[in-house]
Homo-oligomer: 509 residues x 2
């Protein structure tokens, strides 16, 4: 049975009778147990203090709100009539932005979904800078404070007193920051986080401005580089429930990949992220208005067609655009399998930027900025390493578990990246295997959706099962990774037999 983290029950409580031990609390528990069976139930002191009054106001008909604890449930609120607002908030605490999902427990639906910038950014764009600063206790406290302030501003705006649950996920650093846990040993060998299982907290422990007896669940970390955001993503993907094996792929700063099923989960992370999202390219950009998200190149007729988000004038290329660009350049013969430019293929579009060859995707007169949108030779090299790393991680995990790509049931791709990725293009360049073609599924923001799922079905057992069955494969100590990588540093791969469909396409062009 799926039980949400907050339960709202209408109860009819027995009236007291003379000559019996007739405690209000006991009669309330008796009414609750009729509905819930013999769960471990506790009535908060907050509710006990108003219980006699509310019971009699409502003629012994009451509404109670129960919230999930690590063991059992606690009665958090009691009303003599149906409450108007019973809310939950799922928070994906990312290092760049904080996503909020507002959930209405009464109507069992999402009310609102939005994000704000992480206020820690001025302390350092990248997370390592922040971790370094947080070695000093006062800085850690400051980072925690500004994070709480930002989140509390939103919670107040929503109406803190009506929020009975917060379900939060973040990477290991973010979870440590928001809970005020030291990170001093997190980023030096042997990379030791303070905690993995954080658990369920009372409002005053974390410092969130919610209902006095609301609770906060923080998703556990499975490793230094496998944080609560990924655990939440896995929880959303449900690959841990299936008989057959599936991939869970999250592309962010790193490429985090899990291969597994109901029996075990093998996890691995590698530096394959930023280049795939275009984040480190001169003309890369986030998936915003004006970002090129789709592209077709016709060298014979000297034409490039593209689509931008919001059909605005182009400002740059986003992640899905970069992958399609690479695929088009390779399939249309502008990039060789080794990732070198074939200058003869579309000479009009080549130029030099900072003394290196570059391919102009959008000439200056067409772009929103008046500057050209291009891709440089070194950017292609960087991209090929990233896509090669992704393919290698997938191959390595299959090899470790002794299965082939054929036997994989699904490729679940998380992140905004996953929502827009052109699977065909990713296969064309050998980032994903051909076997992904008909079984790749985008999950969207799996982390946020996993946190939201906890509000809807607070299954601690499943989350603990994920924690218990997951094994982390450390690439640093894995010589086989480098061996496999060598073959993947080509479009699509040094072993062309792995990509027969791509080969046919190349031949047909």
């Amino acid at each position: 049975m799926k039980e949400s983290a907050v339960r709202i029950l209408e109860l009819e409580v027995e009236k007291p009778v003379l000559g019996k031990a007739n405690f209000d609390s006991e009669r309330l528990l008796k009414a609750l147990k009729k509905v819930l069976g013999e769960s471990f139930l506790k009535i908060s002191l907050y509710v006990l203090r108003k219980l006699p009054q509310v019971l009699r106001e409502g003629g012994h008909k009451v509404w109670v709100i129960l919230v999930k604890e690590e063991e059992g449930w606690i009665v958090s609120e009691i009303f003599s009539k149906k409450p108007e607002r019973v809310l939950g908030v799922a928070i994906d605490l990312g290092s760049t932005s904080i996503a909020f999902y507002l959930y209405n427990f009464l109507e069992k639906k999402i009310i609102k979904e939005y994000s704000i910038l992480n206020p820690q950014i001025p302390m350092g764009e990248d997370i390592l800078t922040r971790l370094h600063l947080a070695k000093k206790e006062e800085n850690l406290n400051y980072i925690r404070e500004i994070t709480l302030e930002s989140i509390n501003r939103e919670l107040r705006e929503i109406d803190g007193a009506s929020i009975f649950y917060v379900s939060l996920c973040g990477n290991t650093a973010m979870s440590h920051f928001v809970l005020g846990l030291p990170v001093n040993y997190l980023f030096v060998e042997p990379y030791v986080p303070c905690a993995n299982w954080y658990g369920i907290f009372k409002k005053e422990e974390v410092g969130f401005e919610i209902h006095p007896e609301g609770r906060i669940f923080v998703f556990p970390s499975a490793g230094t580089y496998f944080g609560g955001d990924l655990v939440a993503g896995l929880y959303f993907s449900e690959i841990y429930k299936r008989e057959r094996m599936s991939f869970f792929i999250d592309v962010g700063t790193n490429a985090e990949v899990v291969l597994g099923n109901k029996d075990f989960l093998l996890a691995c992370a590698g530096a394959a992220g930023p280049a795939l999202e275009g984040g480190i390219f001169d003309c890369g950009c986030q998936a915003k208005d004006g970002a090129i998200e789709s592209i077709k190149i016709y060298p014979q007729v000297k034409k490039i067609e593209y689509q931008t988000i919001g059909t605005q004038k182009p400002v740059g290329i986003c992640g899905s655009g970069v992958i399609e660009l690479m695929a088009e350049l390779f399939i249309k013969g502008i990039l060789t399998p080794e990732g070198k430019f074939n200058l003869q293929s579309f000479p009009e579009r080549f130029t030099e930027i900072n003394e290196e060859k570059a391919f102009i995707v959008v000439p200056p007169e067409e772009s929103a900025t008046g500057k050209p949108i291009y891709i440089k030779a070194s950017e292609v090299r960087s991209f090929i390493r990233s896509k090669g790393a992704m393919y290698t991680i997938l191959s390595l995990l299959c090899e470790k578990l002794g299965i082939s790509f054929d036997e994989v049931e699904g490729f679940y791709i998380a992140g905004s990246f996953g929502n827009h990725i052109k699977v065909e293009a990713a296969v064309d360049i050998g980032m994903l295997p051909e076997e992904a073609l008909n079984k790749a599924y985008p999950l969207g923001n799996a982390a946020g959706k996993g946190a939201l799922k906890f509000l809807k079905e607070a299954n601690l057992k499943e989350i603990k099962k994920i924690m218990e069955t997951i094994t982390y494969l450390e690439l640093n100590v894995e010589p086989r990774f480098m061996q496999l990588l060598t073959g993947a540093l080509f479009f699509p791969h040094v072993n062309r037999n792995l990509f027969p469909t791509v080969m046919k396409k190349l031949k047909n062009f």
Copy 2:
């Protein structure tokens, strides 16, 4: 196994190794589980926040303090060396005085034991006045505040930061007051307390100034008139563990009596208290210096011998003195079996006080106050009702369970009363049955000792078992009580066959 409410463990924690998911919290839990097995263990956020530092300071050798929760244990504190002070406080929150027992968990011994006056007394000497005032929320809050202030003054004096556990018991009204629970329906029909099981609290819930991750256990109430003090007393008496049945007898404002064994407990309370303690007599007093605690009367030689506490000049008669006085008056023929004065027996000692006959125990010239110490006819009548009620409660409980006094294994008598009671005198007047003569055991302050026992062996299961097996017999709805009482309103009883030893004594005098 007996587990104290606070456990202090020295642990050697594994050092982290590269290439493993090596959370500090996980390695600490692993070390704990080696000692404790698979108990439900949680590390408090307070400890997590200092964990990385303390682990490394101590070269991964640490001392941890665990405290008992309703489910499992929480790690409350961590040190890199052996802590100096780990304390617990047991509190018996009486309506007149608050008794403190200070316990050292490191050395497993009691350090100190003392009591202070209950600061609620100015709000009303008797508890009904206070309950009536507390119907108003601001008064309830005020009563709670002054109680917390008094207790916190003592906790601060002891050293709050070193106190990891408070175990508190009180009657139902006192427990409600200290937790701020409404008492509005407690003293009006059908006499409904807010709560019975209070549970284990964090410091901020109750408001005690103890260690940030200390816990507070409040003994549950089994009925309006059967509070946590009595549950604690039973817990101390351990009659609930025995095969054979025993009596637990507590004489206070009421006489509270339990008869039972490991299978069930039958409880009953009656208005038999104050007169037995001498509390409502003109010359009754507490067991303090100058109180007459023992007395012998020799009418033939016109002599009265007495002993006072501290061998001071007499100021009054305390509970045990009153019982012996009554026994002496009856056995020596000064009181008839009906409780009337035999004015011929010792005429020199009779006088009139407020138009009633009175027997002078101590003439004015011998007393500390210069006034006589006496007992009036109406006081004897009142006493006979109380002693009769006590005997009747004992008889009624036996009758209900179908056993005779012969089959009772022990008579455990709680309270300071129990410590000093002359069992023989109590039998002479028919307050206790003859069968109690060789099997009456004083428990002292059983409530306080029960609270202390929880610090030493925090056995929630046993306390829950007491709660589950106890049945409360309501005297108001028990016609048999009045029938039995009639026979007991004599010295020693209307049925003299019940007291053959006393009869022999009377004859011999």
